[in-house]
C-alpha cells in the first residue's frame, strides 16, 4: 500500500505536511528549511495541496497568521530554522500559551554569530522552555512519520499544544535516502480533521480571547499548561502504537533504547548522530563491551521517568550534545538528563560531550573515542563536569 520513495529530509517533511491536509500554511524561506517551502508551493502549483498557502514577509508574520488561523479552527503547519525562529520568538511563545495546536518543523541550524548556515539544534533547544512540545528525530523516515503523528499529538484534547518536529540541517534536510510513504487514505484514517473546541474566532459568536489577565489566573494557566505537557507523554506513546499498527513502524515514544538490556555503560544521543552511534555500539559489543544507547526523542515534555529507568542499571553514561549551554560549560541534553536522574537510587559517573557545532561532522571515529573516554572515566568512578570537546582532526583552530 505504501510507496517506497527516495527523498531528502526536507521533502519528507513537506510530504508529511501535504498528507496531513493542513488548512493553512504560512512560511518564510530560510536556509536550510527553504526547500520545504519550495516543495509545498510546488505541490500547490500542481494542484496536490489543498491548503491555503500564505506567502508572508517574515517568520513573525508566519506564526502570527497561523495563530489567528488556529484560533479560527484551522489545522496549521509551518517550518523554519535558526534566525527565522529567533525572529518568531514573540508569537512562538504566545502560540503555546494560547494552547494552539500548530505543527512546525524546525530544520536545526546553528545560531549566529559567527555567521553559519549549517546544522546544529541550538535554535530550537534554546527555546525549550517556551511551552511547545519538541521532538528530535534521526533519519528521513522518522521525519515523515513523526510530522504526521505530530498533528495527532498536538490536536489531542488532552494536550492542545503546538509541537516542533526538529531535524538536523543538511545532515538530514539535504540527505537523500529511502523513505516509505503511507497512502493518503491511510493518513486520513489515522488523522481525522481538526475540530477546535476551546476558542473559536467566529463573527457569529463573538468571544474575547487573551484579555489582560491577573497573576492569579496566569498561575492557573501555567499550571494547566504544565499538566498538558505531562499528558503529552501518554498521548505520544498511544499515537506511536496506533501508527505502528497502521504502518509497522514504531519509533519508541519519548525515548528509544538500543542494546540496553544488559548494558553496563550507556551513550545518550539526540538527532542525526544517533545512527552513527548505533553502528558504534554494535562494534563495541562485537568486542565484548557491554554498552547501549538511549536516544532522546521527546525533549519537551522531558521523559524524566523513562530516562531514569533506562539509565537505572548502568555503571555510568555519556551524553553527546550538538549544542552548548552557556554558563554550564556543557550541552543542554546532558543538563536535562542529569536533572532527571536526581531522583534515582544512586548517582553514577557521567561525561558530557560537545561536538558537531555549525555543521561539523560527528564522525564514526569521534563517537567511538567518546565512548572509550566515557568508559575510562566511569571505570575510574569519575564524573567529568566540563564538556569533553569532540574535535575533528582535519582542520580548524582550537581556542
Amino acid at each position: 500500500m505504501s510507496e517506497i520513495a527516495v527523498m531528502n529530509g526536507n521533502f519528507a517533511a513537506a510530504t508529511a505536511a501535504r498528507l496531513a491536509r493542513p488548512e493553512v500554511i504560512a512560511a518564510y524561506p530560510i536556509t536550510p528549511q527553504t526547500p520545504v517551502v519550495e516543495y509545498l508551493t510546488q505541490f500547490a502549483a500542481e494542484g496536490n495541496l489543498g491548503s491555503k498557502m500564505s506567502e508572508v514577509e517574515s517568520e513573525h508574520s508566519a506564526m502570527s497568521i497561523l495563530s489567528g488561523a488556529s484560533m479560527a479552527g484551522a489545522r496549521c503547519y509551518t517550518a523554519t530554522s535558526s534566525q527565522g525562529l529567533a525572529l518568531m520568538y514573540e508569537p512562538y511563545f504566545r502560540a503555546s500559551t494560547l494552547r494552539l495546536p500548530i505543527v512546525m518543523n524546525i530544520v536545526n541550524r546553528e545560531m549566529i554569530s559567527p555567521q553559519s548556515v549549517w546544522g546544529g539544534p541550538q535554535d530550537s533547544l534554546t527555546l525549550r522552555d517556551a511551552g511547545w512540545l519538541q521532538i528530535y528525530v534521526e533519519d528521513n523516515q522518522e521525519i515523515l512519520d513523526t510530522t504526521i503523528q505530530a498533528f495527532r499529538i498536538a490536536e489531542d484534547q488532552r494536550v492542545l499544544l503546538p509541537i516542533n518536529v526538529c531535524y538536523d540541517g543538511f545532515y538530514l534536510s539535504h540527505m537523500t535516502e529511502r523513505v516509505e510513504v503511507p497512502t493518503q487514505a491511510q493518513v486520513d484514517g489515522f488523522l481525522p480533521p481538526y475540530i477546535a473546541k476551546h476558542q473559536i474566532l467566529d463573527p457569529a459568536r463573538p468571544m474575547a480571547i487573551d484579555p489582560l489577565t491577573s497573576g492569579y489566573l496566569v498561575m492557573e494557566y501555567r499550571k494547566k499548561h504544565m499538566a498538558a505537557q505531562a499528558a503529552a507523554l501518554g498521548v505520544l506513546a498511544e499515537v506511536d502504537r496506533e501508527y505502528e499498527s497502521l504502518t509497522g513502524r514504531s519509533w519508541g515514544g519519548a525515548i528509544a533504547s538500543y542494546r540496553m538490556e544488559d548494558a553496563e555503560y550507556a551513550v545518550v544521543t539526540m538527532g542525526s548522530v544517533t545512527g552513527a552511534c548505533r553502528e558504534m555500539i554494535d562494534e563495541k559489543r562485537s568486542r565484548g563491551i557491554r554498552v547501549g544507547l538511549v536516544k532522546i526523542r521527546c525533549l519537551r515534555p522531558f521523559p524524566r521517568e523513562a530516562v531514569m529507568r533506562a539509565l537505572s542499571t548502568v555503571k555510568g553514561f555519556g551524553v553527546i550534545d550538538r549544542n552548548v549551554s552557556f554558563g554550564w560549560n556543557h550541552g543542554i541534553v546532558y543538563q536535562e538528563v542529569k536533572a532527571a536522574l536526581y531522583g534515582a537510587d544512586r548517582i553514577v559517573p557521567s561525561v558530557p560531550f560537545i561536538g558537531g557545532l555549525g555543521g561539523e561532522d560527528i564522525t564514526m571515529d569521534l563517537v567511538s573515542t567518546a565512548c572509550d573516554t566515557m568508559i575510562e572515566a566511569v571505570d575510574a568512578g569519575k564524573t567529568i563536569h566540563e564538556a569533553v570537546w569532540l574535535w575533528s582532526p582535519r582542520k580548524g583552530v582550537k581556542l
Binding site: 545532515y171 529511502r178 545512527g275 548505533r278
Partner: protein, 182 residues
C-alpha cells in the same frame, strides 16, 4: 557497504548525480543515502557529495572518509582538490579524462586499483551544448563498478533531464575505458 565520494564543481549537477545513484539502488531493492557537503558553494567552486550503498538500512548520517570509489566530474579539479584522500586500497577511480589521457598522464596514487575514464566534457558538449558532465560520469561509474543498473539510472536521468541526457548516459557508458591496475 560501498562508499563513494563525488568531486564536481557548482553547476555540474554533482549532488543530483549522487541522488540518482541512490535512487537506482533503492529501485533495485537495496538501500542508499547521499549527503552533499555544502561548503561556501557557488558556480564553479569545488563541490563534494557522499554516497553509501548497501543491501540493508544505512545508519550513519556522516560524511565519507575512506571511499571505495571516487568520481571526478571535472579534470581540472585535480589541481584544486586531493581527490584521492582516504581512498581505500584497491579503490576505484572514475574520472572525466581529456582525450588522449593515459594511465601515466593521470598521475595516480598507489591505492588506485582500477580506473574508468571517459571524455565526459567532450561528450556533454556534443550532446547538450554545454559542459554539464554529471550524466556522462554516471555512465562511466556504472561501467566501472556495476554497482547500479544502467537502465534504472537511464530512466531516472530521462525523468529529471530528458532524453538527450539519457542518450548521453548510454553513449558515455559505451565509451568508457575500464583498466584493472592489479
Amino acid at each position: 557497504m560501498k562508499e563513494i565520494r563525488l568531486h564536481g564543481r557548482g553547476g555540474m549537477g554533482t549532488v543530483k548525480a549522487a541522488e540518482i545513484i541512490v535512487n537506482a539502488k533503492v529501485i533495485a531493492g537495496g538501500y542508499g543515502n547521499s549527503i552533499p557537503f555544502f561548503g561556501f558553494e557557488r558556480q564553479g567552486a569545488p563541490v563534494t557529495s557522499f554516497v553509501r550503498l548497501d543491501e540493508k538500512p544505512i545508519r550513519p548520517k556522516t560524511q565519507v572518509y575512506s571511499p571505495d570509489c571516487v568520481i571526478v566530474l571535472d579534470p581540472t579539479l585535480r589541481k584544486a582538490v586531493d581527490v584521492f584522500e582516504g581512498l581505500k586500497d584497491g579503490g576505484c577511480l572514475i574520472i572525466n579524462a581529456e582525450p588522449g589521457s593515459t594511465i601515466e598522464s593521470l598521475d595516480l596514487v598507489p591505492s588506485v586499483g582500477s580506473v574508468a575514464m571517459v571524455d565526459a566534457t567532450g561528450l556533454a558538449i556534443r550532446r547538450l551544448g554545454k559542459p554539464i558532465t554529471n550524466t556522462a560520469m554516471l555512465g562511466a561509474f556504472i561501467k566501472g563498478t556495476g554497482w547500479v543498473d544502467l537502465d534504472a539510472v537511464a530512466a531516472k536521468v530521462e525523468e529529471f533531464w530528458g532524453k538527450a541526457n539519457a542518450d548521453l548516459l548510454r553513449e558515455a557508458y559505451d565509451a568508457t575505458v575500464v583498466l584493472q591496475l592489479r
